[in-house]
């Protein structure tokens, strides 16, 4: 498709109007996952394994089923027949196994049965009536231990073609890529540093727990309301797991209280549907926070070895990384993505990266903003920082010297199109933050970060009303301000005010398929589709104007919301505003709408550079982030306030990941900190003002130059903060989170 639109000179794009969902959210009118009920509704509750790894010998639900308040009990047996549905293999099978345990409970918190009862309290109480006999098995939760020869096997035969012979069955995928000759490159270096790093699993930490209301009749027709980043994938997955036709299940996405990748799959939704089918009543199921931590996707934990060689002038001669990612008791840890992203910011002659996907007795990992990339950046950028320190080189200058640019052969293979990494580094060097003096006890760190971004299947529909206003229907749940950016892009094409456009997240029955809101794809792909749908409507508006004037349609152009005669033979007519055309559209050819459906394939990669100042208290080990600046290429910021919000959110979550957040498992394999009191995410008082700089290097693959901005912002923080803390503490920090006990231990080890 031709994407030759202008990349500057916008009227609406780039402005900062009020958010369309603001009033609903501050007044409590917005309906989130749990804010819905239905006549005759039952309440669900899920029984979860207390063991990290156990064979389920027997489940006796007879006492629960006999209870007067209990209307249905489901176990894996209620899903079993659908195993034979064609296509229920691969990831669908993994999701089913995660949603309801089969022969074995694979992690602490794994669902083994569920109940629907007349009240939430009755449902929770009745769980105690279900008797489960377990045969407890040896477990493993650590990634390195899970790869060791004596590790318990979680599932035989889960490894795919890529895993080299001789590896433990818990290693299920292997990635190996790069170019050049790293050994020759290391030989050219004046200094080679080899080091190892560890990060713990963290949770996406969305404030809204998973919640849904499900209705499924014995006729196979169903309705599902849920908080999700993608209701079409919820529809497809639930239909497959329950053995019903996809189109017979209508799924509506609620307002969403955060997702960050963690709501790109299903957990309780198929269970609620199964309960509803059995009870023949609507069933509402809402997770507790503890259930969210124990049984929904955290990110992977990682163990990494990095080796980088550098010349005295700062030139990187070779880089090598081994990235081992643990993704819970299922295949899917993004070791390949970690490997492909880790060295992507740099123009390297010799590079080699290896990634492992390793299973352990933990919950199935889910995506979390640029899944896999932040850990790799932490390890790589820490070693680059150490090289800069030892060679007495400026860390921004070194990154500029080695920075990838248009035409650079990326570490993962192809050559880059136009990219904006150099621009972010130049902006970092020029930013007052970078030259501001540090107080005693403070340290400064910088890091670059990279993410691919994604396009994905997309459908958009735009309908004009008689009064000249427009309603826009998109299928990507609004997790970052997309309703505002869609309205701005439609306004730009139609030439009508932002306020005259209402954007709705359509349900699965009213729009064609849409991929999940993930991969930083929404402003890019739904935005592109919105522009195309609006142009489609403009074509029809121009046809109506041409007919009214009695001139050919190619003698009409669209300017500032009006049809305007154009060209020598067009005649002399006053501009015809959009509302004048829609006023009588019913009698001039019928309703005017615009549509677009496609899988856009030009997402364009993006880069960011972060600058962080941190202060370490040597007595307590507590770290304070005293100043933070995010610089990132947005391609084109459609609504700059939301873009800044994405940058700040990435930094805030990165601060949590770097300093405090971690999954802590006991020797018994049970999660020790499954509430927000014990799993500490940053609160406002933990954060400094996070400054932002939006760099705009237009993406050639989008009509207005948009690049995704949702994920790249969480890639540099772990490394930038670790570098700042390492300088402040005077000791290299190799393990995240850098919690006070770890800082104190590092200080002690350092004497």
């Amino acid at each position: 498709m031709a994407l030759d639109d202008r990349k500057s000179g916008f009227t609406f794009v780039g402005t900062r109007p009020n958010r369309p969902d603001g009033l609903d959210k501050v007044t409590g009118r917005a309906k989130f996952g749990a804010d819905i009920s239905a006549p005759g509704m039952l309440f669900g509750a899920v029984l979860r394994s207390p063991h990290a790894h156990a064979r389920i010998v027997k489940i006796d639900a007879s006492k629960a089923e006999a209870h007067k308040d209990v209307k249905a009990v489901v176990t894996r047996a209620d899903f079993a027949d659908v195993l034979f549905k064609p296509g229920l293999e691969g990831e669908f099978w993994n999701v089913l196994e995660n949603v309801m345990a089969g022969e074995k409970a694979l992690y602490d918190g794994h669902a083994v049965a569920a109940i629907a009862a007349t009240s939430a309290l009755a449902a929770r109480d009745a769980l105690k009536l279900i008797e489960v006999e377990y045969e407890v098995l040896p477990h493993v939760t650590d990634v390195d231990k899970a790869m060791a020869t004596d590790a318990p096997v979680i599932r035989e035969g889960a490894a795919d073609y890529s895993v080299p012979e001789g590896m433990h069955p818990n290693v299920v995928r292997y990635h190996d890529s790069g170019h050049g000759d790293v050994e020759a490159g290391f030989a050219e270096a004046d200094l080679v540093i080899e080091d190892s790093f560890v990060t713990e699993a963290t949770h996406q930490g969305y404030i809204e727990p998973h919640a849904c209301l499900a209705m499924l009749g014995n006729d196979g027709k169903g309705e599902l309301w849920c908080t999700t980043q993608g209701h079409w994938i919820a529809q497809k997955t639930c239909a497959a797991l329950l053995g019903i036709e996809t189109s017979q299940l209508r799924v509506t996405a609620s307002e969403i209280g955060g997702g960050f990748g963690g709501k790109t799959t299903v957990f309780i939704e198929p269970v609620a549907l199964a309960l509803s089918r059995k009870a023949n009543r609507p069933v509402k199921l809402v997770m507790t926070r503890s259930e969210v931590f124990r049984a929904t996707g955290p990110t992977s934990s990682a163990s990494m070895d990095i080796k980088i060689g550098m010349k005295k002038d700062g030139t990187i001669t070779a880089a090598q990384g081994v990235f081992r990612l643990q993704g819970g008791a299922f295949p899917g840890a993004p070791g390949d993505m970690t490997a492909m992203c880790a060295f992507a910011p740099y123009n390297l002659t010799n590079v080699k990266q290896i990634g492992y996907d390793v299973m352990a007795n933990r919950p199935k990992q889910a995506a979390y903003r640029a899944p896999g990339a932040p850990m790799g950046a932490f390890a790589v950028e820490s070693v680059i920082d150490e090289l800069c320190k030892k060679l007495d080189l400026d860390p921004v200058d070194v990154r500029l010297k080695n920075a990838a640019h248009e035409g650079t052969k990326a570490s993962y293979g192809p050559r880059y199109e136009r990219i904006g990494l150099v621009e972010t580094l130049v902006a970092a060097k020029a930013h007052p933050h970078y030259s501001a003096p540090l107080k005693p006890g403070q340290g400064r760190g910088i890091s670059c970060g990279f993410w691919f971004n994604h396009g994905g299947e997309t459908s958009v529909s735009l309908a004009l009303s008689e009064d000249g206003s427009a309603q826009l229907m998109v299928g990507t749940p609004d997790i970052g301000g997309s309703r505002a950016s869609m309205a701005l892009m439609a306004a730009e094409v139609l030439g009508i005010p932002y306020e005259n456009i209402r954007v709705t997240i359509a349900d699965t029955a009213t729009l064609g398929y849409n991929d999940v809101s993930h991969g930083s794809r929404v402003t890019y792909a739904s935005g592109l589709a919105t522009i195309k749908a609006a142009k489609h409507a403009v074509e029809k508006l121009s046809e109506r104007a041409a007919a009214k004037w009695g001139i050919p349609v190619d003698a009409v152009k669209w300017e500032d919301g009006c049809a305007v005669p154009s060209g020598p033979n067009a005649g002399d007519f006053d501009p015809m505003p959009l509302a004048d055309i829609t006023a009588d559209m019913g009698s001039t050819g019928g309703p005017i709408s615009g549509h677009f459906e496609a899988t856009p394939e030009g997402a364009g990669v993006s880069f960011g550079t972060h600058i962080v100042d941190a202060e370490v208290d040597p007595e307590t080990g507590k770290t304070s982030v005293t100043r933070y600046t995010v610089i990132q290429d947005a391609g084109k910021a459609i609504h700059p306030t939301y873009v800044e919000g994405q940058y700040q959110g990435g930094a805030a979550q990165g601060i949590g990941w770097a300093l405090n957040e971690e999954y802590i498992y006991g020797d018994d394999g049970r999660l020790q900190n499954s509430i927000f009191l014990d799993y500490r995410i940053p609160v406002a008082s933990d954060l400094p003002m996070i400054d932002t700089v939006i760099v705009e290097v237009p993406n050639p693959g989008h009509p207005f130059g948009v690049r995704g901005v949702g994920e790249t912002g969480i890639v540099p923080p772990l490394a930038a903060i670790a570098n700042a803390v390492s300088h402040a503490a005077g000791v290299r920090m190799r393990q995240l989170p850098m919690s006070p006990p770890r800082i104190l231990a590092a200080l002690k080890d350092n004497g």
Partner: protein, 81 residues
């Protein structure tokens, strides 16, 4: 002819070859031809691949044209959050 660069982990399936020449005008043809030349590539292709054409990453599309002489890389399917 198009030269397709594989990631090095695939060499074990292609007898050590990392660059494979195929005749293909679209991304879909390219994948078919790769499997025809090296049937063992079916596994990774079924698991999900993306294709970079002169640096532009085609995540899933099978109908994207491949201009003569373009630089083509097979990549593991991208995922996001």
């Amino acid at each position: 002819m198009v030269e397709v660069h594989l990631w090095s982990g695939l060499r074990s399936l292609t007898g050590g070859q990392q660059v494979i020449e195929v005749q293909a005008k679209t991304t879909g043809d390219l994948l078919k031809e790769l499997v025809r030349a090296h049937p063992q590539l079916q596994g990774p292709i079924d698991a999900g691949v993306s294709i970079a054409i002169d640096g532009r990453v085609i995540a899933t599309g099978l109908t994207e044209p491949i201009p003569e002489g373009s630089e083509v890389y097979l990549m593991q399917r991208l995922r996001g959050g």
